[in-house]
């Protein structure tokens, strides 16, 4: 239909877009096919519509999680993992803002979590209330990110990744020293439980509600951000920097903003983690978790704010579900990752989108007889 509608298609023009003709031709054909099948084009960000269903999506997510999770998951270990999932989701959303929307690979998301954790521990030990210390943790991470982001404003792609890797290495060294800020060898212990409005979240089940509320708020702010000129300009700055700049978009400011914002989410996640566990240890925020957060966003899908939430779920629960394999657990886990990357290169959220498109097509086919 689209072809007959447009008889003026150029004979050869469409095949040469970026100088790799074979690749572009194949890619263009795949796009056409997807368009004809009614699927959204491949890639990271779907064209945003200013519809309301996204807000309802956040509401539904919070409601379903609030009802289902406490009823389905009753074991102590399960409840603990549930809380961890919510906190990692928050940090993952931060990384999604930096990497998914901003297109900049920041290695130092765990460093920002550590900054948030130490800063919040520092303020709470000096008698500040929980909410203030958590905000301090988030703000401290934001401030560090602002400095790093300004210093690396001109760094592109790999240079930015290396620069932030350097920041995370410096962070590890600084945090593992003994000081008033980081405790003895980077260990701060004996932090009080989180409390808000006179209510103390002194159990995993109690903390669940706090974390779910914070995550819901972060998701809502994320949806607001994407359904606004900010989201559009972030995608433009990510996918074609020079075009965006000549179009008048302050690309560096957009990148800096997303980096600071993502780091604030990381810092908040770290602060909540510290108060929940009652201690801060430098080992918690090593490169392992750094790669873990990357994994969450890639596995879940870097093209949607729901990607990191799904990915964090996988990251938290997969090792638990694979514990039956005992000494082969690592091998099975690695193989599972490999299969998932092959089956769903756009992440779990992409898989969900494909399933939805398939259902819609099956539904249409049925209606037509």
């Amino acid at each position: 239909m689209t072809d007959t509608h447009n008889p003026a298609a150029p004979p050869d023009g469409a095949t040469e877009r970026t100088g790799v003709p074979g690749l572009d031709a194949a890619s263009g054909r795949l796009d056409d096919l997807r368009a004809r099948l009614g699927a959204s084009p491949r890639g990271t960000v779907k064209p945003p519509v200013y519809g309301r269903h996204q807000y309802l999506g956040v509401l539904a997510f919070v409601a379903v999680t609030a009802v289902a999770a406490p009823n389905l998951i009753t074991s102590a270990e399960g409840t603990n993992l549930l809380d961890l999932w919510l906190l990692y989701s928050l940090a993952g959303i931060g990384f999604y803002w930096i990497f998914g929307l901003g297109g900049r690979f920041a290695f130092c998301q765990t460093t920002m979590m550590a900054v948030g954790a130490y800063a919040s521990a520092y303020t709470i030990e000096r008698g500040q209330p929980f909410w203030l210390s958590a905000l301090c943790g988030a703000a401290a991470a934001g401030a560090v990110a602002a400095v790093v982001g300004l210093a690396l404003a001109r760094a592109q792609h790999f240079a930015f990744a290396i620069g932030t890797l350097a920041v995370s290495q410096i962070g590890m060294v600084v945090f593992s020293r003994t000081s008033e800020f980081t405790g003895v060898n980077g260990q701060v212990t004996g932090l009080p439980y989180a409390s808000l409005f006179g209510h103390t979240f002194d159990s995993d089940r109690g903390a669940f509600w706090l974390f779910l509320g914070v995550l819901g708020l972060a998701l809502l702010l994320g949806v607001f951000l994407e359904r606004s000129p900010v989201g559009r300009e972030a995608v433009a700055a990510r996918d074609g920097e020079m075009v965006a700049r000549t179009a008048g978009i302050p690309v560096r400011r957009v990148h800096l903003m997303l980096y600071v914002l993502g780091s604030v989410a990381g810092g908040l996640s770290g602060a909540l983690l510290a108060n929940w566990q009652g201690f801060v240890g430098v080992d918690q925020f090593g490169l392992d978790l750094g790669i873990g957060i990357f994994l969450m966003v890639i596995l879940g899908g870097a093209g949607s704010i729901w990607g990191p939430v799904l990915g964090a779920g996988f990251y938290v629960w997969a090792p638990k579900l694979l514990s039956d394999f005992k000494e082969y657990q690592g091998v099975v886990y690695g193989a599972l990752l490999l299969v998932m990357i092959m089956v769903a290169p756009e992440g779990l959220i992409g898989l969900a989108g494909r399933a939805r498109a398939l259902l819609r097509r099956v539904g249409k086919g049925g209606a037509h007889g």
């Binding site: 877009r17 606004s228 000549t246 008048g248």
Partner: protein
Amino acid sequence: MADTVLEASGIRVSFGGVRAVDDVGVTVAEGQVVGIIGPNGSGKTTLLNALSGVVPATGSLVVDGHRVRLGGPERSRRAGLVRMFQQPQPYRYLTCLENVLVATPDRRASGLGAAWLARPYMLRVERARWASAFAALERVGLADKARLPAAVLTYGEQRLLDVARGISACPRVLMLDEPSAGLNDHETTELLVLLRAVAADGVALLVIDHKIDFIDALCDRITVLETGRIVAEGSPAQVWRDRRVMDAYLGTAHDA
């Protein structure tokens, strides 16, 4: 004669000792279309790059009587210079409408504060922006594709999308780099009509192209470049009569 909008003089661009553009000047008046032609490698695109601030350059650039410092895409854009690239540059993951919106000069309520704290105001401003972006799409004939991702457009449509983006940016000077490349005769004619209409609205147009018929029909004046220098300029009729143009430009083009 209408007011001069763009006045560039003594523009020089060097790449590692090679003078890609050497002491080139160009003047465009309101509603005027100036063509830049010349063989491959004569510095046409580099000249546009210099004016739009994409490459470091020296020389003087005056837009609407104000001096503009070269070398900053944001500065050139603020002065009213809007650039269309040689290759169509659609954002594949944005809809056509959003692709046009990217270039909007209206930057009200475009920050995080408005997105989070003043959504009704932000949406009101957005609706006004949508309307003008949609009008630009209508003008180039892409209105029915407004909600489709730009990735599904044909090559010709992608070019039109770039033109729509250029129009909606409310430019003082619109610079187009081979707008007719990859278009068939019918599409080229449509583009010609469209660009004349844009110029008639008072926009100054600076156009690079290889299609002689297209340039001849579109332009009021033509500047011919060869190896970074101006070899001829004047009305189309004057330029075609110039012996050096025949040698330098047409000869080379036909030999290839």
